[in-house]
Symmetry: C2
Subunit: 434 residues, 2 copies
C-alpha cells in the first residue's frame, strides 16, 4: 500500500490496521516516506483521531523502531515514573533514591526543559560533573550496581518518536491525544521497566490545562501499559502552582536534597511520599498505600535515601560534596524580591507564566538549541492561599542577566491574582487511575 | 508570523488574512517554508475549508508567485475556455479557431493527460511537428499575429501552483474545493485573458462525480473571476459518456477537423456551438446566445474556422497537410471491434473506466513521467441510449501493443451497462452559471 493511500484512509476516518501503521512508521524511519507525507498524516490524525487500537499499533511500531531494553537480568523488580511535565517538578530527583533504597531498580530516561516546563536532565546537570549522556551498557551497569540510572534520550531508543516529535512541533500537530500517548509509551516501553507510575499534570503550568483532558490522557496511558502487559497507575496532579518552593535548576537540586534530609515544603513532601508509595505498591514492596507511605518516610528518616542519592551523583560523575555544601552548585550573582502590591490572599498563580519567566531568566529553553543557566530561578515564599501584606516578598528572583529583569518583572506582575477572600485550596492529587 | 502559527490558526478554523496567506505562499515558493509544513497546512485546509475570501487571497498569492501576462497590447478582446477535464474532451481544438475567426484573441495555456482524462497538449502533439513548448514572447507574438496560441504550462506562470499540486498529489489533499479553485484560477488569471468560459464537467468520466459538486465548483470559479474583474460564465456539462465518438490523441484531432469541416457527431457539434456562443457573448461579438450560435455555425460553414485551424497548426510548426490527409497522423497497427454481448439499450458508460482503458492502451499516462502513444484509442459507434443487437460493434479499439489488449478488454467489459428499457437521455449542458 502506498503512503498516499494510507493518508487518504486516515483522512476518511477508516481505521488503519497494524500492517499499515507498521509500514508507515518503518518506512518513515528509513526515510522511504518523506516528512511531507508524514506531516499530512499527522494532521489527518488531528482531525480523525486514532482509535485506542490504532494507538496501540502505533506505540508498538514506534517502540520497535529502535532498541528495546530487556532488564530481566536484574534480580529485582523494576519501576519508573513518568511526568507529563510541569513547573518546579523535581520529583524524579527524590523518587529515584527513595524507591531504590528498597531493592527496586529505577531505570529512568528523562527529557530536557522545553517551553515553560523544566527538564530532569537540566536539573541533574546543575550538579558539577554529572553526566546524563550514558551509553545503554553504562545504563544497564548502573542499574545492576546501584539499581539507579538517570539518562537522556538516546538515538537507539524509539528513533521514530524523535523524528515524529520534531515534525509535530513545527506542524501544529502536538496536541493530539493518541500521538502524545504513543510518544510517551513507545519510549517508556522500550526502556524495559515492568511497571510505570504516571504523574499526569493538569492546570495552568501543565500541557493539559484542565482536569478532564488530563484524566483522559491518564486513562489511555494506563490502558496502553496494560495492552503491553505492564503494571501501571496514573496520578492526576495539580499544576496550578509550582511544585514546592523552587523553580530553577540549582535551586531544585537544593530543594530535592532538603526533602531527602527530611525537610522541605509540605506539598513536595506529600507528592513525593504518594508517588513513592505507588511505585512501592506496583513492585509489591508495599501491600497498601499506607505501608508505601510509611516505607518512603522511613527511607528519608533513616538517611538511606540520601545515601542512595549520593551514590547516584557519584556513579554519574557528579560532585557528591554538593549534598552538604550547596555553595558548590552554580549560584546567581544577583537576587531581588518580588513583593505583594496589595493586601489580600494569593488566589491564583499563572504557572505557565512563571515557567516562561524562569525560561527568560535562562532556567529553561525556548528551542532545543538554547543553552541553560543552571544558577537562576525563583524561590517562592508564598503559595496559593497564603495571606499577603502589601510589601511581603512573594518570591526571590535569582538572576545573572540584569537586562532580562524588566521583562521577567512584567511577566511576574501578570502571573499573580490577589483577592480579598481566601481561595479554596485544591488537593494536589486530584485523581488516581488504576 | 511563523509558519507553524499559520498552520495552527487554520487547524483551529480561524480565518487567515491576506498577509498570512501571502507569507505562506511566498515563503513556500522561495523554499523558506518546507514541504512538510505546507502539507500539514493543506491537510488542515481539507478539514477546515478555506472561505471564499481566503480562496481569493490564495489565488492572488499563487498568481503573483510568477509572471502575469498583460495582453492589453492586443487591439482585440480576449477570451479563454477552461475545462475541468474529461474523456474525449477535444473542445479546445474546435473552439480556438472558431472564436479567433471573429477578431477575438484566445490565449490558451493547457494541460496534459493525467489519470483517466485526456490533455489538449498531448492531442496537439499528435500532429507531426506541432510545438506546444512556447516561450511567453512567442505566445504573445502568435496572439498578435493570428489571435491564437496554444501552449503548455511554463515555469514562469504561477510556479506556486506547480509546487503545491505536486504536494497535494502525494498527500491525499487534491479533492478540496478551495485548493482546486485556486489552482485553476491562479493560472487562468496570470494568463491575462479578460474573459473566461468554464466547462465544469460532472459524471463518471469527470473529477466531480455529481452535479451538485460540479455546480458548487462552477459557482466558485465564476465568483473568483468576478473578484478579479474578469467576465466569466460556467457551463456544467455531462461527462457520463465520452464527448463525441473518438477517444485518443490522433483520433481526436481527426474528429476535431471533421467538426471544422461541418461534419462530426451531434453532441460534439452541440457543445462546440454553445461554448463558442458563450465565448462570443462574453467578448461582446454576439448580443444573444442565438446570435452566438449562428456566428459559430457561420465560421464553420464558411470554412473560416478550418482556415484558422490551418494557420494555428502552421504557426506552431505542425504539418498542415494532416487536415486533408488524415493518414499523415500516427496510425495504430491493429484494430478490433468490441461487440455488444446482448440485445438491449446502452444505458450507462462508466466513462472513468473508458478513460483508464484508453490510458492502458497508451493514450494517457498514469504518472507525469509516462510517455504517450498518439495513435491508439477508441472510436465509439454507439452512445448512451443507442439500441443494440447482440454482436453490434460498440466501439473499435485502435492499438499497437497486443499484450495490453486482454487487460483493456476486461475494463471495457465492465464499462457498459445494457438493459432492456431505453434510458432517459440527459442533456449535455445541465446548468449555466453566470
Amino acid at each position: 500500500m502506498r503512503a498516499v493511500d494510507i493518508i487518504q484512509k486516515k483522512r476518511d476516518g477508516i481505521p488503519l490496521n497494524e500492517a499499515e501503521i507498521n509500514t508507515l512508521i518503518q518506512n518513515f524511519v528509513r526515510n522511504l516516506i518523506p516528512d511531507y507525507q508524514m506531516s499530512a498524516f499527522l494532521m489527518a490524525c488531528y482531525f480523525k483521531p486514532l482509535s485506542f487500537q490504532e494507538t496501540v499499533h502505533l506505540t508498538k511500531a514506534m517502540m520497535q523502531s529502535g532498541k528495546i531494553l530487556h532488564l530481566s537480568f536484574l534480580p529485582v523488580p523494576t519501576v519508573d515514573k513518568h511526568s507529563t511535565g510541569g513547573v518546579g517538578d523535581k520529583l524524579s530527583l527524590t523518587l529515584v533514591p527513595i524507591v531504590a533504597s528498597y531493592n527496586i531498580a529505577v531505570p529512568m530516561i528523562s527529557g530536557r526543559a522545553l517551553a515553560h516546563t523544566g527538564g530532569t536532565l537540566d536539573k541533574l546537570e546543575a550538579i558539577p560533573g554529572f553526566q546524563v549522556n550514558l551509553s545503554l551498557s553504562q545504563f544497564k551497569n548502573f542499574l545492576k550496581k546501584s539499581h539507579m540510572a538517570m539518562m537522556g534520550q538516546t538515538p537507539e531508543i524509539a528513533p521514530a518518536d524523535k523524528k515524529l516529535y520534531a515534525l509535530r512541533d513545527v506542524t501544529a500537530t502536538v496536541p493530539t491525544l493518541a500521538l502524545i500517548c504513543a510518544s510517551i509509551m513507545s519510549k517508556k516501553l522500550a526502556e524495559g521497566s515492568e511497571s510505570l507510575v504516571f504523574d499526569v499534570k493538569f492546570g495552568s503550568g501543565a500541557f493539559m490545562k484542565n482536569l478532564k483532558e488530563a484524566c483522559e490522557l491518564a486513562r489511555w496511558l494506563v490502558q496502553i501499559a496494560k495492552a503491553f502487559n505492564r503494571k501501571s497507575v496514573a496520578l492526576v496532579t495539580n499544576m496550578n502552582e509550582p511544585v514546592g518552593s523552587m523553580v530553577g535548576n540549582s535551586l531544585e537540586i537544593i530543594e530535592s536534597i532538603e526533602i531527602l534530609k527530611g525537610r522541605g515544603p509540605k506539598d513536595l513532601i506529600y507528592l513525593t511520599l504518594h508517588l513513592a508509595a505507588h511505585m512501592l505498591l506496583l513492585t509489591g514492596r508495599a501491600q497498601t498505600k499506607a505501608e508505601g507511605i510509611a516505607l518512603a518516610k522511613e527511607a528519608i528518616e533513616s538517611g538511606k535515601a540520601l545515601t542512595k542519592f549520593k551514590t547516584l551523583v557519584q556513579q554519574q560523575g557528579g560532585n557528591p560534596h554538593i549534598i552538604d555544601t550547596y555553595s558548590l552548585l552554580p549560584k546567581a550573582r544577583f537576587q531581588k524580591e518580588f513583593q505583594a502590591p496589595q493586601n489580600g490572599y494569593l488566589c491564583q498563580i499563572n504557572t505557565e507564566t512563571i515557567g516562561m519567566a524562569a525560561c527568560l531568566l535562562g532556567a529553561g529553553r525556548e528551542t532545543m538549541e538554547d543553552s541553560i543557566d543552571p544558577a537562576v530561578g525563583f524561590q517562592f515564599h508564598k503559595k496559593v492561599g497564603s495571606p499577603l501584606q502589601k510589601g511581603d516578598s512573594i518570591l526571590t528572583i535569582y538572576y545573572n542577566n540584569e537586562k532580562k529583569l524588566s521583562e521577567v518583572w512584567k511577566l511576574l506582575k501578570m502571573a499573580f491574582t490577589i483577592k480579598s477572600s481566601k481561595p479554596k485550596k485544591m488537593s494536589i492529587i486530584a485523581k488516581i487511575i488504576e
